[in-house]
């Protein structure tokens, strides 16, 4: 029998075995033994103390989205655990591999309303891929190995380990074996030749095919396979919010961004194409609008790794269940070379119209207040379109997604499914930690900034070189936009009196500049990029700016407002 070590040390050793290098967290009573063990492992883990557990989860998510490895988050029981809930829910919606390890009262006290006891497993079961309570030191390695396996394979997602204090203190042998199997869970379903053949048949017969690219392509590392597939059959494609950067912006067949505030071309063409090929996306209502009128004329092919997504929102004519990397390769082999020049050219008319009516005004205005679009475009270009874009939620998010340009994959980190305001600052921290050699640009609204601005403390302590751009319209802009359009400009609760953001940055020793005039913008951006240190650029943007194009919620995907109605 080998030496007995504490459960806390077993956890540390297990994390090392799984190749963990970074941990985000916040201490407290019920997790103190683990933090004590961590003290001896400071040379092996980059441990980052955030200022709030929500921040720790979003930072771990940002890390995961950029690195492709599970993000690790260590929090205490009770309020520490409940503060982590938003991140867990966000990771569930956006298929982000996240492992939250939370302290829990000792097993004997469970169910007694002990100090800082909360039923974390009960709370997180509906919003996590797996939630498990570790009650004995002997079970730690098994649970950790399973957690990593489940969080990172198949369709990734959050896993919660609720770690009872007695198991942290109690002793057991350390014997680690990675998990490669658990019955009842088939992360990579075998791909059916028949499904590939029927999908290939539809594609071969298509005259006007359109591909929809989701985050599944990025999660499956299938960017190259996607490119070969699209090129072989000459298929125009557009991305969901989370699928952005799977194709470079300037890729010939990339026709842009789908959905409510997406590009006119792909949204119009959705109801015109004859075959719609959805790849690793889930027909979210922000993409489809009214399902009753969505792509009714088209044969629909859906490639996804999650069987519960197939036929969930849209009835499909051909489904291909499996990992996009493999299924795209098989599909590419099964289809014929094709050319759809005329069809692809037919997007142009819409692109020109969108440019005339929307983009020109938003990105290249000559006078008037500063527009969000122009700031984003200038910053993207100043980064050579190579930066990682992180966004918060609201107008800033949609504008950034629309006008940032991507040259590399895994270059957008944004809260898609849950739309979590406050996601931005901590997610940017995680993104920069995962990719220290890349520029990380966060666009955040004045509202969202104030939801997690305490994380400036994390930036201060760790000197994390994120570039924070506050697009300050002095409004909860996206709410105001809806109120303008649908509630007769009754600005209920969307007006904000804001603090001096520069003074806040000063307090955290973050270099900053405020720009109110268009002519100062370029210079400020150059200064921001002059080094790799934290920076905050506060831009006063148009107060009552609007994000167009817009398909009102629940409307037909082709019912697009351009702001000239």
């Amino acid at each position: 029998m080998s030496e007995l070590i504490s459960g806390s040390e077993i956890l540390m050793q297990s994390l090392l075995k799984e190749g963990v290098d970074t941990i985000f967290g916040y201490p407290g009573g019920a997790i103190t033994p683990v933090f004590d063990a961590l003290y001896d492992f400071q040379d092996r883990f980059n441990y980052i103390l955030t200022r709030h557990e929500q921040g720790a989860t979003h930072a771990a998510q940002g890390y995961a989205r950029v690195s492709g490895k599970p993000g690790i988050c260590l929090v205490t029981s009770g309020p520490g655990a409940t503060n982590a809930i938003t991140g867990i829910g966000d990771a569930m919606m956006d298929s982000t591999p996240l492992i939250v390890i939370a302290g829990q009262v000792q097993a004997e006290l469970l169910g007694t309303d002990a100090f800082q006891e909360i039923d974390l497993v009960g709370i997180t079961q509906p919003i996590s891929k797996w939630a498990y309570q570790i009650r004995r030191p002997e079970d730690i390695t098994w649970a950790v190995a399973r957690a990593f396996y489940i969080a990172s394979t198949g369709r990734p997602g959050p896993v919660v380990l609720d770690f009872a204090k007695n198991a942290q203190i109690g002793k057991a042998e350390f014997y680690y074996k990675k998990c490669e199997f658990t019955r009842g869970y088939i992360p990579y379903p075998e791909i059916s030749t028949k499904q590939i053949e029927s999908a290939a048949q539809l594609i071969n017969d298509a005259k006007k095919p359109l591909a929809l690219v989701g985050q599944g392509v990025i999660l499956g590392n299938a960017e190259n396979e996607l490119k070969s597939f699209l090129e072989k059959a000459d298929i125009p494609a557009a991305s969901t919010l989370l699928g952005l950067s799977a194709m470079p912006t300037n890729f010939r067949l990339n026709k842009g961004f789908l959905g409510m505030h997406g590009n006119v071309g792909p949204n119009m063409k959705t109801n015109e194409c004859d075959v719609l090929i959805a790849i690793g996306m889930r027909f979210d209502d922000r993409v489809t609008g009214n399902l009753k009128t969505y792509a009714k004329q088209a044969k629909i092919i859906h490639l996804d790794i999650d069987p519960s997504e197939l036929n969930k929102n849209v009835k499909v004519d051909a489904k291909v269940l499996g990992d996009a990397k493999v299924s795209l390769k098989l599909l590419t082999d099964a289809i014929q070379n094709a050319k759809h020049g005329e069809w692809i050219d037919s997007f142009k008319e819409h692109e020109e119209k969108e440019f005339e009516k929307v983009i020109k005004k938003e990105v290249f205005p000559e006078n008037g207040p500063i527009k969000m679009g122009e700031v984003i475009n200038l910053i993207s270009e100043a980064s050579n379109n190579e930066a990682i874009l992180v966004t918060d939620v609201g107008q800033n998010q949609i504008m950034a997604a629309r006008y940032f340009k991507y040259s590399k994959t895994r270059s957008i980190v944004t809260s898609g499914g849950l739309g979590t305001m406050g996601f931005g600052i901590p997610a940017a921290i995680g993104a920069k930690v995962a990719a220290p050699d890349r520029k990380v640009c966060l666009f955040v609204g004045d509202g969202g900034f104030q939801m997690t601005m305490q994380e400036l403390g994390t930036i201060l302590q760790e000197q994390i070189g994120v570039k924070i751009i506050i697009l300050n319209n002095n409004y909860l802009g996206m709410v105001r936009q809806w109120q303008e359009l649908f509630f007769r400009k009754r600005y209920s609760s969307s007006v904000m009196i804001n603090p001096n953001f520069g003074a806040i940055a000063d307090a955290y020793k973050i270099k900053n500049q405020e720009v109110k005039d268009r002519k100062d913008l370029k210079k400020a951006i150059d200064e921001m990029f002059s080094d790799d240190k934290p920076y905050m650029l506060i831009v006063e943007t148009e107060k009552e700016g609007m994000v167009y194009p817009m398909t009102p919620a629940g409307d037909t995907v082709t019912h697009i407002l351009l702001g000239d109605e």
Partner: protein, 194 residues
């Protein structure tokens, strides 16, 4: 709950024998606003595998999605759903009646023959009758008894069901799963922490 589009479905779920499974399953019904009509849970014939039998009124589309969501849970080994035509199913009901009331009825032979009743207990104060059958059958006896005597207690179990199919989906699936097991795989149930 019952309306034209609604059919009674029987959902069979095979799961790991782990704390919190019922919650994982029931929240999926809750999200889709399906009411669980009956529920029965017990260890299955296979060691370490629990079986849930759940009935619910649903339309075809919703039940398919719900069962896929259940099946997706890592701790769920397999979930199926069937309609009554595919199944042999049974429920059990117990009826408690005051002995003097039953005796006042005169003869109960005919009722016992018609309903196939078993008498489980009989003492000075009460008689406990048992009837197995479909919902309508146990309900019919309850109605008839209620007209004649005061039924002190009436309890009906959840449904248990076995499909009539020639294919044994669970054992096929387990065989398939076993063939995927990597070498040196340690069975989950060696971990007592469950």
């Amino acid at each position: 709950m019952e309306n034209e589009n609604m059919t009674l479905y029987t959902v069979s779920v095979f799961s790991e024998n782990r704390v919190g499974l019922l919650n994982q399953i029931s929240i999926i019904f809750t999200r889709r606003r399906l009411n669980i009509e009956t529920l029965s849970v017990s260890p299955s014939a296979l060691k370490g595998i629990h079986k849930f039998t759940i009935t619910t009124f649903s339309d075809a589309d919703t039940i398919e999605k719900v069962v896929k969501q259940i099946d997706k849970r890592v701790d769920i080994i397999k979930a199926f759903y069937n309609t009554d035509e595919d199944l042999v199913y049974q429920e059990i009901a117990l009826y408690k009646i005051a002995t003097d009331q039953l005796i006042k009825l005169g003869s109960i032979e005919e009722m016992i023959r018609t309903y196939n009743i078993r008498i489980l207990e009989m003492n000075e104060t009460c008689v406990v009758l048992e009837k197995t059958g479909h919902y309508e059958e146990t309900q019919a006896l309850f109605s008839e008894l209620s007209q004649k005597v005061n039924v002190l207690q009436f309890i009906r179990s959840g449904r248990v069901a076995i499909n009539k199919s020639k294919i044994e989906r669970l054992s096929d699936m387990l065989a398939n799963l076993n063939s995927r097991k990597p070498e040196g795989y340690v069975e989950d149930d060696e971990y007592a922490g469950y």
